[in-house]
């Protein structure tokens, strides 16, 4: 069998080292803000952005991705695809140990993907539908047998999507209740030390890390500072070195970036390209009517929100697919700000003034203000709106239990509609309990079919055609109300070097970062 060998030629981890002529210096502590405090660090079961931020430095995926989304070896050193595109063989790195000293082997890979993540990660489950079997012929080889070629397969192995989890800890237990969730054990560059709830999460250098010479820094502290103004002050006083994108008030961004010694980058979000929208509950109440949902789109002054709340960072979202993601269709009709059209649609459907609940997203002040803006927009076209406030755990739960009318979210696109987009709209991805699947309850068999065909179609032109059809239909149906493609500047102290060097930014940045004394 002819095989295409990839990976082996670029088998060194710090893939941007050439850009930095200076030799990295060892030692030191980096203080990072984590906002909001994550509900858990168990990256395999919680998809919250901050769970991924902290957990991504404890756990690892099989690969890392550079800013052009090309895969690079990490726990897998090389991989091959068979000629028919249906068999993927991964060769694992030898000598890797878990933080508790047990060796990392192919059994962990099979368990993580086939058992644990298949059960707990709705997004991955969608992709695993194309995988017939995952087998481990020996300790350092894993073979994926696909039922048909699946274009986005090679982009599945980033730590947030497919973290490697220890089989010897989780096998045969109730995953959600496993005590290791409170003391995560991964293979990553940092080991979990302490989590003082409401105060900080302390990670320390993994002395047995499998990449020699890494990490450079000794300690990593993630500080929980619930107040946005205090986060800015903490950065100004030097207590905090890194403000991950989205962790300070947008109002403060221009001021902070002008400080001496402050560096800023919008890199490190290529893989995610965060897409913000309003969940609209398609099952019940006024939001179950398509005309009402279209009226919501017309009622929103998104340009105002972008300029006032986001300092003009970002872009108005036209539909379900982000403009930086593959297969985005620019010919989609645009829902402009048009209150009159919204009122006409409401009159046509005979909206009787039933109040709708608008659940705020507890991700800080910008989102709180955005909730107030949306409420005002809705009320001005005659939609009676009640704001519901909650905490992060309650928000996860209410969306997962479908106990909402309208609520905010932003989700990641993962570079390909089959990975980051279709999950929100496929009707077979409706499952109670998760706030990251088709939580709005959109059912359109035709869209299902287009999405399913597009995921496995060949070549790309065929995929693009199918995705265009799906996008036009979805934009017509408005299952959710798209807000913006977000851009989050990461602000950091310039003494921190080589911070963002992958497509997922701070989520796996600290293994290669170093401090210039």
């Amino acid at each position: 069998m002819k095989k295409i060998i990839m990976g082996a030629v670029i088998a060194c981890l710090p893939f941007t080292s050439s850009a930095y002529a200076e030799d990295p210096q060892e030692g030191g502590t980096i203080n990072v803000v984590v906002q909001p405090e994550p509900p858990s660090l168990m990256i395999g079961m919680y998809s919250n952005a901050t769970t991924q931020q902290v957990g991504g430095n404890i756990f690892e995926g099989l690969m890392r991705y550079d800013k052009d989304l090309n895969p690079h070896p990490l726990l897998a050193t090389a991989w091959e695809n068979s000629e028919d595109g249906k068999t993927w063989t991964f060769h694992l790195k030898e000598g890797v140990v878990w933080h508790d000293g047990k060796p990392f082997t192919s059994a962990d890979v099979v368990f993580s993907i086939d058992k644990l993540l298949r059960e707990t990660n709705a997004r991955l489950r969608g992709s695993l539908a194309f995988v017939d079997s995952i087998t481990a012929p020996d300790d350092y080889t894993v073979v994926f047998q696909l039922n048909q070629p699946f274009g986005p397969f090679i982009r599945l192995f980033e730590v947030g999507t497919t973290p490697m989890l220890p089989k010897h800890i989780y096998a045969g237990t109730d995953y959600k209740l496993n005590p290791a969730n409170h003391h995560p054990i991964g293979t990553g560059p940092f080991v979990f030390k302490e989590w003082k709830k409401g105060s900080f999460i302390h990670l320390a250098k993994n002395e047995n890390y499998h990449v020699k010479g890494l990490p450079h820094i000794d300690e990593l502290y993630w500080h929980v500072i619930p107040d946005a103004a205090s986060r800015s002050v903490a950065f100004e006083t030097g207590k905090i070195d890194v403000l991950p994108g989205g962790s300070v008030e947008n109002f403060d961004v221009p001021r902070l970036t002008e400080l001496d010694n402050a560096c800023v980058t919008t890199d490190g979000w290529e893989f995610f390209s965060p897409h913000a929208w309003l969940w609209l509950n398609n099952r019940q109440g006024p939001t179950s009517d398509k005309r009402f949902r279209q009226a919501v789109m017309y009622s929103m002054d998104r340009e105002f929100a972008k300029s006032v709340l986001w300092n003009d960072y970002g872009k108005i979202a036209k539909g379900p697919v982000g403009s930086k993601t593959k297969f985005y269709d620019d010919s989609l009709p645009n829902y402009e700000y048009n209150p009159e059209k919204a009122k006409a649609l409401l009159a046509e459907m005979g909206y009787d003034g039933t109040p709708v609940r608008l659940m705020a997203m507890p991700y800080g002040e910008t989102w709180q203000r955005w909730t107030e803006v949306i409420k005002q927009n809705l009320e001005e076209v005659g939609i009676k709106t009640q704001i519901v406030s909650t905490d992060v755990a309650g928000w996860n739960q209410k969306i997962g239990d479908w106990d909402y009318d309208i609520s905010f979210t932003y989700l990641y696109q993962y570079g390909d509609p089959a990975l980051g987009v279709s999950r929100t709209y496929l009707s077979n991805n409706i499952a109670k309990g998760s706030p990251w699947n088709n939580a709005e309850g959109y059912v359109n068999k035709q869209v299902d079919q287009w999405f399913n065909e597009a995921a496995v179609a060949f070549p790309d032109a065929k995929r693009a055609e199918l995705y265009s059809k799906a996008q036009h239909q979805i934009v017509e149906d408005v299952p959710v109300a798209w807000l913006m493609e977000l851009e989050f500047p990461t602000i950091y102290n310039c003494k921190v070097q080589n911070l963002v060097d992958s497509a997922i930014g701070v989520n796996d940045a600290f293994g290669t970062a170093w401090i210039k004394q």
Binding site: A229, E365, R369, T371, Q376, I387, V388, S389
Partner: protein, 279 residues
Amino acid sequence: MNVIKSLTQNKVAMVGFGILFMFVVIALFGPYLYDGSPWRMVQRPFLPPFQNSNYILGTDTLGRDVLAGLIYGARISLLVGLVSTTIALLIGIPLGAYAGYYGGWVDEVLMRFTEIFQTVPSFALAVVLVAIFEPSVYSITGAIAIVSWPPVARLVRGEFLSLRSQEYVLAAKLNGQTNRNIIMREILPNSLSPIIVLASLMVASAILLESSLSFLGLGDPEIMSWGYMIGAAKTVIRQAWWLSFIPGIAIAITVLSLNLLGEGLNEALNPKLSGKRES
């Protein structure tokens, strides 16, 4: 009447009364005279005060009219203050009256119960209550009432303890009046003056409590209040200090006016003090 005369002669108290009266008028009629919701985004954000004659106090982070916020906020502050104080009185007066009048084990039980509430820091308890019952104007009012009745009960009990052995009470007892009648008709009217003074101060502290809760983000998200305005402005205090300052002044003045009025009432209702003043 002596009390009113004495009160009107007290200039400080009248200043307090005047300011308070102004806020009550604003709260009652302001929303009708000043059209538009305080949530409406009317101008560019961060418009400083006294720059645009339509929006005399400027606009907040989203371009909402600060003056409209103040007017609507007056309504909620006073409403919460008055209603929660009334509820606190309705709980505290009967408890204190029974404890003081009957004494013995009734007193013991009721006072131990009161102490349970007194030992918990009132603001912490209010935060917990509001968080449990989800922030709304009802839960906030209820929480403030629940944390502020114990002082009323203690005060009323003390009054009843000292009054129950007075001759007119003993006479009423000999007369064969029911206990209920004695409590309601004989003792309570004679202990009203310190209760009124306390109540006026409780309204002030209730307004402060409501503002503190809103400041912490535990306010009713549907309602514009002064505490909310300060809480929402605190992140931008460097760029726009007036957004915190203006509602802060409103709270300070209202609370001050209630304190002045309470002091005046105290002097007017307390014969010993008012006598001293005249001499």
